[in-house]
């Protein structure tokens, strides 16, 4: 019984968590906004976001989310809001004193992947989908150990 219950749970969770959407479906080609919601439940999207976070050197200012020149992303204090839209706006349009605009420099789907990952840093993402530790120096609890706040 409990097994069955658990499997049902997996059934609900499994599919959207594990889907690996490589190509942007034409339906979303105009705006990916409707698609981002799944990102926070999709392991692949968030791990891509984590990779891009490193590749685009977000660490340069946000130091692994701990903060540095730029504000920390792991804290609960959000100067410009913590909704996916806010974060998307921060990335694409930039923010005063320092945060540059990346519009036109990173693809939209990548931006939404980053949004989902940034939110996972403060535990907003589904825990069974959030990234585990990276093969890098220990920066504190991995995203999938940070308590979920939604």
């Amino acid at each position: 019984m409990r097994l069955a219950a658990l499997l049902l749970l997996v059934l609900a969770a499994g599919c959207e968590r594990e889907a690996r959407q490589f190509q942007v479906p034409p339906a979303q080609a105009k705006s990916l906004k409707p698609g981002y919601a799944n990102n926070e439940r999709n392991a692949y999207a968030m791990s891509q976001g984590k990779t891009l976070f490193r590749w685009f050197n977000c660490n340069g200012c946000h130091a692994g989310g701990g903060g540095g020149m730029g504000p920390p992303l792991m804290s609960d204090a959000w100067r410009y809001g913590n909704t996916p839209d806010d974060i998307y706006k921060s990335i694409m349009d930039g923010r005063p004193n320092g945060m540059p605009s990346f519009r036109g420099r990173i693809a939209e789907e990548q931006a939404w992947q980053l949004v989902a990952y940034v939110r996972s840093m403060s535990g907003y993402a589904r825990q069974d989908a959030a990234p585990g530790r990276a093969d890098a120096l220990y920066p504190g609890d991995p995203e999938n150990r940070r308590d979920t706040r939604n």
């Binding site: 190509q23 942007v24 080609a29 590749w55 036109g104 420099r105 693809a107 789907e109 990548q110 093969d135």
Partner: protein, 314 residues
Amino acid sequence: MLDAAGPQAARVLDLWWLTLAICLLVFFGVLLFCGLALWRAPKTQGPAAPDLASLSMAERGPRAAVAVAVAASTGLLFVLIIASFVADRALANMGPPDLKIELTGHRWWWEARYDASDPSKTFATANELHIPVGRTVLLELKADDVIHSFWVPNLAGKKDLIPGRTATLSLRADRAGTYRGQCAEFCGVQHAKMALLVTAMPQDEYDKWAAAQRESAPEPADKQQARGLELFVNGTCAMCHAIQGTPAHGRRAPDLTHLASRRTLAAGTLPNTRGHLAGWILDPQGIKPGVNMPANPMPPEDLDALLAYLEALK
């Protein structure tokens, strides 16, 4: 592997023929005796009474035969072991290298850095190695993400590229030509499309090639190319790609300084033609699903400009 173009591969090939011969001998030997047994032993249909003679008296003949057979196969086995040791030693010492290349495996492409005593002379290329014929080349193998394995059958055996470790492999090409290699350790979604080409050329040609590679990218020749460069630098491309001599310095994807001089795109996935390049820029995920390059939808005139510029990167 059966067409060796260098000493490493050649030694392995010799060992291969020896091993094959001995194994075939043993194989057919066993089949022969098995067949003889089937042929000479009397047949029966159904459960005939068992023959218990062997319990009362020892079977000298068969025992001797088995002993001889075991001894013979053991002997041949030792021949193989020794041959293998000898070949292994030979592979180990290739003499001092004339050229050092640092080869890094990424998901899913190869990054090659040509070292030189004078740092200004080092240069980077991707998914293609050019080496001078008859010179010993030392490869320093590194991995950026997961384990890959370097394998160019015509030139040498495999060597794994393991994160956190550095391996070295020295090889030599004795014949000019282009040899295909492919990642041989499963490395994820696009393991199948992670090839590289090794082109062996006479020393002088190689020197010409290397000199050309050291140059930074040519200035845009016309307005269209200038527009292309602008798109490249201010668009998504520069986030990951580098073109020497321009502000584009991304290290996450192949260095495109001399893109037009290469034979293939996307680690041996496509031949390097204008059409394929266009298709690749617009929809890489359709061609190589899971690759880290995003789709870059853009208006035709922009695409033409970008292509014009990239095509000029000889």
